[in-house]
């Protein structure tokens, strides 16, 4: 009986992920089309599609949790799904409050990429029993470490996205070349604030994630730990230099984009 339930769940999570990916693709295509047509107002339809994509992503994670009976972060493709989820969550929370509706246009391709890679992984994985076997022991510290670190990566990814938007907007303003994108991007002051806050949120969460790793039953590999510490250190240095006016907004934006390669590297070696 339990095995039959697992098989149903095992199929449904993939269907939900496919629907979610299609929704994000639809939202991205709609936004790009809107940009090309010059529409520069928030679209409820687009928000609805993005919301649906996020809801199906939540459902996917829920079903994966049912299979594992724990937080579903046991493989690279699940990690990518979780990362997409955290970016989606931050987009809905921060995107609206900072009036960065266009963040979705920049976030969607990254989420799409993560989900497409995850989909390939999902369809190549073994039976539910084989998957469950890998995760028969639950370590609370591991759960905390993995989940909080991934949400922090989501915040840092969005900081990179905000950084990219800042650089585009700054370039257009400096060169007096006000193209279609200019009218759709948020005010540069909002981007500066969002960038700083997202990095600060990311650093706070990463600190908790990195610290919790020290209490895990099986301490992560030294390279994993070392990279996490290095990432944290570099982001802290970036924030301190910025706060002390040693670097300006451009360097902060460039730093936010470049430093995100470190979390990606950590995910790759996971």
């Amino acid at each position: 009986m339990g095995q039959a339930f697992s098989y149903d769940v095992f199929l449904m999570d993939k269907i939900f992920l496919v629907i979610s990916t299609l929704c994000f693709f639809g939202g991205f295509a709609y936004a790009v089309n809107g940009l090309r047509a010059g529409r520069h107002h928030d679209s409820r339809a687009n928000l609805l599609v993005m919301g649906l994509g996020f809801a199906f992503l939540c459902a996917t994670l829920y079903l994966r949790g049912q299979i594992h009976q724990r937080c579903p972060i046991t493989s690279l493709h699940e990690v990518l799904i979780f990362l997409s989820w955290s970016m989606g969550l931050l987009y809905f929370i921060l995107g609206k409050s900072f009036r960065l509706s266009l963040l979705g246009v920049f976030t969607a391709p990254l989420v799409l990429l993560f989900q497409l890679v995850a989909l390939v992984g999902f369809f190549m994985e073994g039976t539910p029993a084989a998957i469950a076997k890998k995760t028969d022991q639950i370590d609370v510290w591991l759960e905390l470490h993995a989940s909080v670190s991934l949400v922090s990566f989501g915040a840092l990814a969005l900081a990179g996205v905000a950084g990219l938007m800042y650089l585009v907007q700054n370039r257009q303003l400096k060169r007096h070349q006000l193209k279609t994108l200019f009218y759709n991007l948020p005010p540069i002051q909002y981007l500066i604030t969002a960038m700083f806050r997202l990095i600060a949120i990311g650093v706070m969460l990463l600190t908790i994630g990195t610290a919790s790793a020290f209490f895990m039953r099986n301490v992560p590999a030294p390279i994993h730990q070392g990279l996490s510490m290095l990432t944290l250190l570099l982001y802290i240095i970036l924030l301190v230099l910025y706060r002390r006016n040693r670097i300006g907004n451009i360097k902060l934006a460039q730093g936010a984009i470049l430093l995100f390669s470190l979390p990606l590297l950590i995910l790759m070696i996971l």
């Binding site: 529409r39 540069i188 002051q189």
Partner: protein
């Protein structure tokens, strides 16, 4: 029921004619009643702005409708014998389409301006309040509001700013977002800086500092803007306190140098600074624009953006026409305002292209 439109606009009549034919708002209700009381006329809306005077009416017979309104205008505005006015005369489908173009800003002197939309709404509300509209014009004007909104949201006709002052304000909003927390400093109290400051003030900028060689003029302008005046020698001390600088002095050399801005920037943290140089010759050293977080726009750059906007808007006209065609097809305007059965009428813009002999010129009665 037929719908007609008789009018003049900035293309068909000089300002002398338009100002003579303008309806005073205080007498509008009685004028509406007078027109509605004319033979054949059942409903009427008068759209009277500085760029156009148009009378929309619902009537039983088109030609009679045009004639009685023209006679009324002649009498009402006391036109002299022999005076001619180039009225455009549109009816049914053409009249409806023209109204939609007007509401969408397609027929405006500044293409894509949005003020006209409010003016059409007001003209309709005035007529409605005077009891001069009924089913035909109610429906037509409601449709025109939908058409106007459609053009605004589905095309780029209203995008960007087409004058120097509005470009500056748009840029300020793209840099700071909410202008209510922005502090503005005017260096020079000339007409251009006064207008730009008023635009910024109208969008929320509250804290305005005015510095001028003539301190009295600075005080005068500062009072207008609820700001404060400072002596011309002191303006550089306030550099780190302001977010927007508008400079328009009559100096023949640079007044704001890169070193001055550079030294003020560290005290501003990471706050951007927007410098608007509307003086000719320029007040601001172009090297100021190279400083991080400083966005420098001189009069040439502002005019360039305004011209680009106007050019882009012109390119949008064909697309807007398509949007209107589609709207008319979908809404079945023909049922409301049936296709013309009499001689073809021309839109005001089409009329402009015709030679004088083919114009729908209406000579006011000679005797």
């Amino acid at each position: 029921m037929n719908i007609l439109c008789l009018g003049v606009n900035h293309e068909s009549a000089p300002v002398e004619i338009r100002e003579r034919m303008a309806f005073a708002h205080k007498n509008l209700a009685s004028s509406l009643h007078d027109i509605q009381a004319l033979d054949e006329i059942d409903e009427v809306v008068v759209l009277s702005t500085c760029n156009r005077v148009e009378i929309y009416a619902a009537c039983k017979k088109i030609e009679n409708g045009f004639d009685v309104i023209r006679d009324y205008l002649d009498q009402h505005f006391q036109m002299q014998t022999g005076e001619t006015v180039d009225f455009y005369k549109l009816h049914n489908h053409a009249a409806a389409r023209h109204l939609f173009s007007v509401a969408g800003g397609l027929d405006s002197m500044v293409l894509g301006e949005t003020e006209i939309f409010g003016q059409v709404k007001k003209a309709y509300a005035d007529a409605q309040n005077a009891g001069a509209t009924s089913r035909a014009l109610n429906k037509l004007f409601q449709q025109s509001f939908t058409a106007g909104k459609l053009i605004r949201t589905n095309t780029q006709l209203t995008r960007g700013a087409s004058s120097v002052g509005s470009v500056a304000v748009d840029l300020a909003e793209k840099i700071f977002g909410d202008l209510s927390k922005c502090r503005v400093m005017l260096i020079g109290a000339g007409d251009m800086s006064r207008r730009t400051a008023k635009s910024l003030h109208s969008r929320g900028a509250k804290s305005i500092i005015v510095s001028n060689r003539s301190y009295d003029n600075a005080v005068k302008l500062a009072q207008e803007m609820d700001g404060k005046a400072i002596h011309f020698d002191d303006w550089s001390d306030s550099l780190n306190e302001v977010d927007i600088i508008v400079s328009s002095t009559a100096a023949t050399h640079h007044v704001i140098h890169a070193e001055m801005i550079q030294s003020a920037m560290p005290q501003r943290g990471h706050q951007p600074l927007f410098v608007i140089d509307i003086a000719v010759p320029r007040d601001v050293d172009p090297a100021v624009g190279d400083i991080e977080n400083v966005y420098l726009y001189d009069i040439g750059a502002l005019e360039g953006i305004a011209a680009q906007t106007r050019h882009e808007r012109k390119k949008q006209v064909a697309h807007c026409e398509q949007v209107l065609d589609q709207f008319i097809e979908e809404k079945g305007i023909d049922a409301l305002a049936p296709a013309q059965s009499g001689p073809p009428t021309q839109s005001p813009s089409q009329q402009q292209k015709c030679d004088a002999s083919s114009k729908s010129t209406s000579a006011l009665p000679e005797s």
